[in-house]
């Protein structure tokens, strides 16, 4: 229906991505936004990615016997600007591998692509190239995923959002 996805921004340094049933993606994102705004008002600081992951994990497990059909990933820099990525299943079981996380319809392909392309200690520009190539390779082989791609690179000074051109089928 639509080719626009917002890599959901929670703060300058923390982004969340949701894959799964569209209606639940939107509902869960609205709830996350609500909780993180409330946190920001109360604590007068942004949520760290670790705290956000914990919060989302609880939010999903609350619905253990009627879950939200959505599998989030959380990516960001913590207070000391160390990178943090976390993936969760629909019940909130989290996984913090340290290198990369994937989710979505072509997650198996993405695992393969990321495993091949990722190296430790990449610069922001190199990382952009790496992630774009991995994403595009997996997307092109998946009939359900595609129709455009958005990449967000989060560094300690800023976060840059870029749209990549890809096959429109």
């Amino acid at each position: 229906i639509n080719a626009e996805y917002m890599g959901h921004k929670i703060s300058d340094k923390v982004y969340v991505g949701l894959a799964g049933l569209a209606t639940d993606n939107q509902t869960v994102y609205e709830r996350i936004k609500f909780r993180s705004s409330l946190y920001k008002l109360r604590e007068e600081r942004d949520l760290s990615p670790k705290a956000l992951a914990s919060m989302i994990s609880h939010m999903l497990y609350e619905r253990r016997f009627g879950p939200w059909f959505t599998e989030p990933i959380i990516a960001g820099l913590d207070e000391s600007n160390n990178p943090y990525v976390c993936a969760m299943d629909l019940l909130g079981a989290d996984c913090i591998p340290g290198n990369f996380v994937v989710t979505g319809t072509c997650s198996e392909s993405l695992y393969g692509c990321c495993e091949s392309f990722w190296r430790p200690d990449l610069e922001p520009d190199e990382l952009f190239e790496t992630i774009s190539q991995a994403l595009l390779s997996a997307l092109d082989r998946d009939c359900l995923a595609g129709w455009g791609a958005t990449v967000v690179i989060i560094t300690k000074d800023k976060s840059v959002t870029r749209e990549i051109k890809c096959r429109q089928d």
């Binding site: 229906i1 569209a22 209606t23 939107q26």
Partner: protein, 219 residues
């Protein structure tokens, strides 16, 4: 779904800079019998908003009435008219709650609005002599029965919608005139009539622009 004609009702919505056009097939019936061919599925929930509902007969009327009354209540409480995005997110919330309830609303919707500028943003623009977005303009949202919502320039619901979407992909331009939009709509409806096996009867068409909502002659 208890509705055996799920998908047989076509809705088409086209939003351009100066207007929003919504069309709905007029057929209303049960199984092989058609009760009416001029059922108006374009419910006016406010004087600048139309909620087109397709799906279960009873649900579409019940749901649009429910939304209209809640918006009226919200207008009274807030002391001003609900904005387009406000109403869209409200409707999405209701559909998302409904899908996990005991008896979900089985309606697929299109919401078209033409909003006046928000007073505070308009005043800000006037005072600073700028032309920033002030919340005014045309909007169209696609809402399905699960509660997924997308804000898009043109949208359809139903089996006939697939064909209409293809035509709009080819011809739609954001700044086209009302005349051009109605020409495209005619093309879409002709294609739907040609390709969908069920008789699509009349199409009720309404336009929302800065003058308000106007019902045009049925296509």
């Amino acid at each position: 779904s208890t509705q055996s004609t799920w998908g047989m009702e076509t809705l088409i919505g086209i939003a351009c800079k100066s207007h929003v056009v919504l069309a709905a097939s007029g057929g209303s019936g049960h199984s092989i019998l058609q009760f009416k061919d001029d059922e108006d599925k374009l419910h006016q929930i406010d004087d600048n908003k139309i909620l087109a509902c397709a799906g279960s007969n009873g649900d579409s009327v019940q749901f649009s009435d429910y939304v209209a009354r809640n918006l009226a209540l919200s207008n009274n409480r807030q002391g001003r008219k609900t904005t387009g995005p406000n109403s869209a997110y409200f409707i999405r919330g209701e559909l998302a709650n409904s899908i996990r309830s005991r008896n979900p609303y089985q309606v697929n919707c299109l919401l078209g609005t033409f909003d006046p500028p928000l007073p505070e943003l308009k005043r800000l623009n006037d005072e600073t002599h700028q032309n920033k977005p002030d919340g005014s303009g045309s909007n169209l949202w696609y809402l399905d029965y699960l509660g997924s919502m997308q804000k898009i320039p043109y949208a359809t619901q139903g089996y006939g919608g697939t064909f209409a979407m293809a035509i709009l992909d080819r011809y739609y331009k954001e700044d086209q005139s009302e005349q051009e939009t109605l020409e495209q709509l005619k093309m879409c409806i002709a294609e739907v009539r040609k390709r969908i096996v069920i008789n699509q009867s009349k199409f009720i068409v309404k336009v929302i622009n800065n003058k308000g909502i106007t019902r045009l002659n049925d296509f």
